[in-house]
């Protein structure tokens, strides 16, 4: 609720034009013409940053950050004090602290959270219907992946504890990858799976 008020306040004063957004994309590219890819990648990194900070609405905060930077660039014509990434990071920190102080977060859950609180959201305590939905969406999203991706992610999760670690090592060797490279490849697939599962679960709600 508070978030939308903040956004509305900013939007009321300033709205990105096509020209300003084009200039913003060029500034983020920093000389390399990525055709918007760097913007999307930067946005994803900002979302991850806000997720790590435990924000409830990481996507909104990433957009808020980018909008503020865009606005600053539009108003001042250029930003020479910092690199685009650093300037975005500084802005993101301000946005984060504003969010933290706004009281929108769950009753300072960060201060009081403990394992017991977390367990309340643990799937063990969830109703069967929700688990079933998640399982169905996972199956559906796995089927969307390419065969290679599906094989990799299934292999990555196969086994338990020590067996899983050994299995991952075997998979990495089979694919001629280091463990790190395998983890990063699996991570990218999992990120896509998560997005797909989230959309799937929401579409069923």
């Amino acid at each position: 609720m508070g978030k939308s008020v903040v956004t509305a306040a900013v939007s009321a004063k300033w709205k990105a034009s096509e020209a300003s957004f084009t200039r913003f994309l060029a500034w983020i590219d920093n000389g390399a013409e990525s055709e918007g890819q760097e913007y999307l990648a930067l946005r994803a990194r900002l979302v991850a940053y806000f997720e790590r900070k435990g924000c409830d609405v990481p996507d909104d905060l990433a957009d808020e950050t980018l909008e503020r930077v865009n606005r600053r660039l539009d108003e001042e014509g250029s930003i020479d004090t910092d690199t685009p990434a650093r300037f975005c990071y500084i802005t993101a920190k301000f946005v984060f602290f504003e969010d933290l102080r706004s009281g929108r977060r769950k009753e300072s859950s960060a201060e009081t959270a403990d394992l017991e609180n977390f367990k309340a959201g643990d799937p063990q305590n969830e109703d069967d219907e929700r688990k079933e939905l998640l399982s169905r969406c996972l199956d559906r999203c796995l089927s969307i992946l390419s065969v290679e991706e599906r094989d990799l992610i299934v292999a990555y999760y196969f086994g338990e504890r020590r067996a899983k670690i050994d299995h991952r090592r075997e998979v990495a060797a089979k694919l001629s990858l280091t463990s790190n490279a395998l983890a990063i490849r699996a991570c990218r697939i999992r990120t896509r799976l998560e997005t797909c599962i989230r959309q799937c679960c929401e579409s069923v709600k």
Binding site: A48, Y49, A113, D114, F118, V154, F158, A186, C187
Partner: protein, 323 residues
């Protein structure tokens, strides 16, 4: 636990310094469980925004931490610290749920993968050059043609009606996307349909190519699947790919059951009306068409029940539906 209650912007040198250092996995893990001091954490945060490769490393490490937390592989202090991180992050909590679901799904999917791996014989014969197959095919066709010619040479008019023998019992799974003529009753028809001539594995010597009436029929697409011998459980899972536009899965279930009456086939939540089996050389074939839309992707159990008793399961197969 949040350490940063005041805004600290590390000077650019911190990030540069961190960039130039080899940041170890241990450092990243400490960062993710909230165990780094504020300035160091700030530098890593900044680098995670500026450096895609580093952001990937953090994301991968975060997933691994989630997996280890779910698996109970973290030591007590890390588990407690990471539990606190999880508790304040809705998106991480979501990752935990997905991680648990993946751990449940992986063994199931792996069973399917193993079953779809090439068999020993496939591996052996897979190495034979295609030329050899071609030669063998030509020889086989020549032999068939010669046989037909000598046996039927005094019945020339009948040659055009001779049909190639269709494989009998013992054939395994055959999948053939083929245009066929749908029954005039339309897609809701659940009764058995005559096997099409190009559905291998059916011991039906009377199968003849239908001669459709154009005004009453339409070309449709289907996948024919012959299941034999019966398989119980998920140890021998066949996969069926249903391409876009395919409307039916034609199931031909072969059984050695002594029952020669009527059967009911169940596939997922779809159930046929009683269907009479066709007996052939001690084998009974039961055919139905299942609307493809009723079969969701994933493992589907096919049950063949004796319609008379209503509950007796005669055969059971598990197949994997893919699209």
């Amino acid at each position: 636990m949040i350490r940063a209650n005041r805004l600290v912007i590390a000077d650019g040198n911190d990030a540069v310094r961190m960039e130039n250092e080899e940041i170890t996995q241990k450092t990243i893990r400490s960062f993710l469980i909230g165990d780094l001091d504020e300035v160091a954490a700030d530098a890593l945060d900044e680098r995670s925004i500026a450096d895609q490769g580093f952001a990937d490393r953090i994301a991968a490490e975060q997933y691994d931490l989630v997996d280890e937390w779910v698996d109970g592989r973290l030591d007590a202090s890390d588990a407690k610290a990471f539990g606190q991180v999880l508790a304040r992050s809705p998106s991480l909590a979501e990752k935990v749920k997905i991680s648990k679901a993946m751990m449940t799904a992986a063994p199931r999917a792996a069973v399917v993968e193993r079953s779809s791996e090439a068999t020993f014989f496939q591996k052996i014969f897979g190495s034979i050059p295609k030329l050899a197959y071609g030669l063998a095919g030509v020889l086989l066709l020549s032999a068939v043609a010669a046989t037909v010619f000598f046996v039927r040479k005094d019945k020339v008019n009948e040659i055009s009606r001779v049909e190639l023998p269709i494989n009998g019992y013992g054939s395994d799974v055959s999948i053939s996307p083929t245009p066929v003529v749908t029954p005039t009753e339309g897609p809701s028809t659940r009764e058995s349909v005559s096997p099409t001539v190009n559905a291998p594995g059916l011991a039906n010597s009377n199968a003849k190519k239908p001669t459709p009436e154009p005004a009453r029929t339409a070309l449709r697409s289907f996948v024919a699947l012959t299941l034999s011998p019966p398989t119980r459980g998920a140890g021998d899972v066949r996969s069926v790919k249903i391409d876009q536009g395919v409307e039916y899965l034609e199931l031909n279930v072969q059984t050695e059951s002594e029952t020669t009456g009527r059967f009911v086939i169940e596939a997922a939540d779809w159930r046929s009306s009683p269907v009479r089996g066709r007996g052939q050389k001690g084998v009974t074939v039961v055919s139905v068409r299942v609307p493809a839309e009723r079969l969701k992707n994933g493992l589907v159990t096919i049950l063949l029940r004796d319609a008379a008793s209503g509950s007796e399961i005669v055969d059971e197969h598990v197949i994997l539906i893919e699209r």
